[in-house]
């Protein structure tokens, strides 16, 4: 096959490309230029382009750079800023996968005559009744199926995750055997356009107004202040610097317009359902019990799906056991066993 591999400059995509070359495919590498601003690591900095170029040279494959910075700004950064301004907690990696890697880049791969697009994600593609689904990686600790949930058939027919069946240790071992300079490169962890030194606040403050606010308890008594209500996440416990000791207190309500954060005991967070928007199903909507994951490294919990409106992209997750609420803006992904059936974005938990 003629395969376009997205080479980020990290070890996973380097090995993904190596495996495809070893299998005898015609492989061309591309690094996406997504973000021109400050960045610690991730997919965007110049040093990562150099690492990708060197890895491609070591593998003897062509390397190109595609500039998707404008789309990234429009489809990832701007919604990220708008979500925060509205008090939501967005997941930009999901949006990048949705709009950049498996929409714009996949379309580009088609345009340029490639049979498939490969990335270094830790996930697998599994066929169920002839339909190809994203599924959890062999290395469950590194599993990225959650952030890949917008990828559904027929796009899955043309996507490959060559390292999804390997553990991270195996990936590094393979990279070492090949002498790839990315073999010992640390994993990227955080949002590529947020720097460790500046954090979300330094990124958002030039782009949107951040407002200080009051922290009150459930009876309305003031217990502290926050610098930016827009950066407070529903369910958050740490980082509020509340006065006094006492019981653990969590953010149970955020009123951005009223500049007010309410904290309370954990039982105040318990919910039995969450409404979703922007839902995309890969195949039929499950009528029986499924497992549902609400954060990148969380565990999936049993639930059923109701109130489905496919055209409007709406659905409701009803938890088998009540559990803490899902912060609005977070991705909610529906699995059967290891297989992604669909997903959407959390709105209200009740």
């Amino acid at each position: 096959m003629r395969i376009l591999v997205a080479l980020s400059g990290g070890v996973d995509s380097s090995v993904a490309a190596a495996l495809l070359v070893a299998d005898g495919h015609e492989v061309v590498a591309v690094t996406l230029r997504l973000w021109g601003g400050p960045s610690d690591q991730g997919c965007c900095s110049v040093s990562d382009v150099e690492d990708a170029r060197r890895a491609a040279a070591q593998l003897g494959i062509e390397h190109h750079v595609f500039d998707f910075a404008e789309r990234f700004e429009q489809q990832v950064v701007e919604p990220y800023v708008a979500d925060h301004a509205a008090g939501r907690t967005p997941n930009p990696c999901v949006e990048c996968n949705r709009h950049l890697k498996f929409d714009a880049l996949l379309e580009r791969a088609d345009l340029l005559g490639f049979d498939a697009l490969a990335t270094g994600h830790h996930a697998r593609i599994v066929s169920v009744d002839g339909r190809r689904h994203v599924a959890r990686a062999t290395d469950t600790a590194k599993d990225q199926s959650y952030v890949l949930h917008p990828l559904v058939a027929p796009a899955t027919d043309r996507v490959l995750f060559p390292v999804g069946g390997l553990t991270k240790a195996q990936v590094r071992e393979r990279a070492g055997e090949l002498g790839l300079r990315t073999a010992h490169k640390p994993d990227s962890q955080d949002t590529c356009f947020i720097t460790a030194s500046g954090g979300r606040e330094a990124f958002l403050s030039p782009r949107t107004d951040l407002h200080p606010g009051e922290i009150v308890d459930v009876d309305g008594a003031p217990v502290g202040r926050v610098d930016a209500v827009e950066l407070v996440t529903l369910g958050q416990r740490r980082g509020l610097s509340l006065a006094g000791g006492g019981d653990r207190r969590y953010v149970v309500d955020v009123d951005v317009a009223g500049r007010r954060v309410v904290v309370g005991p954990p039982e105040r967070l318990q919910r039995t359902r969450v409404d979703l928007r922007g839902v995309r199903w890969n195949g039929p909507v499950p009528g029986d019990e499924v497992s549902v994951q609400t954060s990148a490294h969380g565990t999936a919990e049993p639930a059923t799906i109701t109130d489905v409106d496919i055209d409007a992209g709406r659905a409701t997750v009803r938890w088998v056991r009540s559990r803490p609420l899902v912060a609005p803006g977070q991705s909610v992904v529906v699995y059967r066993d290891d297989i992604v059936l669909g997903g959407g974005t959390a709105e209200r938990s009740t």
């Binding site: 110049v46 910075a69 996949l106 088609d110 345009l111 027929p154």
Partner: protein
């Protein structure tokens, strides 16, 4: 130049026999360059390339020349960025990217007035490229010099002749310039070797201070092999220049007329029906090897990718350090002057060795690639679905069909 990388290894700053051998080679190279550029040998400063020469000329060295440097908005980044760092003034251009002489006159006069009133520094230097590295359009330096003599006598004129050197008679065209930059890689010489001509009348401090080589204007052990290679390549280029330019202009005009004809719907950026080769008295002349076109309804990145795969090494706008395509400041500048620049910009340049077969191949490749991209746009493939088999295949045979002037000037 090869002996000077191996057996003839002398440092020309030394005094022994090996050093004298290197000095002699360097002196000969300097004389050759001086003859072809129309200056005295002592006015030739060997540099690490066009960028160093530009930065040195525009800044005036370290410390920088006092005053405000001036250049038009279509200059190479080596000039533009230096002007910017020094708080200089950027002039507007016409629709072909050439300096606006009225704007030059106005700004110079204003800066002169400001200086005499001690409210600000006067102009320090005017830098105007001989030929533009994206469009191939040519500035009339005699006319620029006339404005300077009239409004700001004594202010030096620098020209970046990097793109022009292989194709134009720099000796004649840049006679009015006080400083001239060229780079060897543009005419078959080694990369990393350039020259700044500094006429004796010009005050300039060294940019690189140290041992005082190059008559105190550029310290550092001189790259003898680079200088010898530059001089040899320049000599060959100059000897063949007239005949080569005429032949290449014919091929370029053929290429341009074929790709701007239906069904391509590709148009010449400069709008001319037939671009004349340089003659010296034609106001609309363009370098003989340049064809700059705009391709409607396609994205530049996939266009470049598929042309490259088909053996056509074109360029779109300027390339940046990470390899991705960036918007062109030259196209932005001519758009500000009213030129239409919609579509994917494509700079096709020919080399001295380009043949009629290469042009045929380029025309066929362009036809196939543009056809494919347009078809995709009007009937996009849904991600995940195999492309329609009727999409025309891109020819992959052949090597370099149209040799690019190789990116940067």
């Amino acid at each position: 130049m090869e002996p000077f990388l191996t057996d003839r290894y002398g440092n020309p700053s030394g005094a022994h026999a090996t050093a004298r051998d290197a000095v002699r080679a360097l002196d000969e190279a300097r004389e050759q360059v001086a003859e072809h550029l129309g200056c005295a040998p002592g006015e030739v400063v060997f540099t690490s390339g066009g960028t160093e020469a530009d930065v040195h000329a525009v800044s005036g060295g370290l410390p920088p020349r006092s005053g405000v440097p001036i250049c038009p908005s279509t200059e190479h980044h080596a000039v533009l960025a230096t002007v910017d760092v020094l708080g200089g003034t950027v002039l507007s251009v016409d629709r072909a990217g050439r300096i606006d002489l009225d704007d030059l006159r106005t700004r110079l006069a204003w800066l002169r007035t400001a200086a005499t009133e001690e409210t600000g520094p006067g102009p320090s230097v005017v830098s105007v490229m001989l030929a533009n590295n994206e469009l191939g359009t040519i500035n009339d330096l005699d006319a620029v010099a006339d404005v300077l003599a009239d409004v700001a006598p004594g202010v030096p004129l620098h020209t970046d002749a990097v793109q022009a050197a292989p194709w134009l008679d720099v000796r004649e065209r840049a006679a009015a310039a006080d400083m001239v930059s060229i780079s060897a890689h543009k005419f078959g010489g080694p990369r990393g070797s350039g020259v700044l001509v500094v006429r004796d009348r010009v005050d300039i401090a060294p940019l690189l201070h140290g041992g005082g080589q190059e008559r105190g204007r550029r310290s550092g052990t001189v790259d003898v092999a680079g200088a010898v290679g530059l001089a040899a390549a320049l000599a060959v280029t100059v000897a063949d220049r007239r005949a080569t330019a005429e032949r290449v202009a014919g091929l370029r005009n053929d290429l341009l007329s074929r790709i701007t004809a239906a069904p391509f719907a590709v148009r010449s950026t400069l709008g001319a029906t037939g671009w004349p080769p340089p003659s010296g008295d034609d106001p609309d002349e363009v370098l003989p090897n340049f064809a700059h076109v705009l391709v409607a309804d396609v994205d530049p990145e996939p266009l470049m990718f598929l042309l490259d795969a088909a053996g056509v090494r074109a360029s779109s706008a300027s390339s940046c350090s990470s390899g991705a395509l960036r918007p062109s400041h030259v196209l932005s500048a001519i758009a500000a002057a009213g030129a239409g620049v919609e579509g994917a910009a494509l700079r096709l340049t020919l080399g001295p060795e380009t043949t009629a077969d290469d042009v045929d191949h380029a025309v066929a490749a362009l036809q196939a690639v543009i056809g494919r991209l347009r078809q995709h746009r009007s009937n996009p493939v849904v991600p995940g679905v195999a492309p329609d088999g009727s999409v025309p295949a891109v020819p992959t045979a052949g090597g370099t069909a149209v040799a690019s002037g190789a990116g940067h000037s």
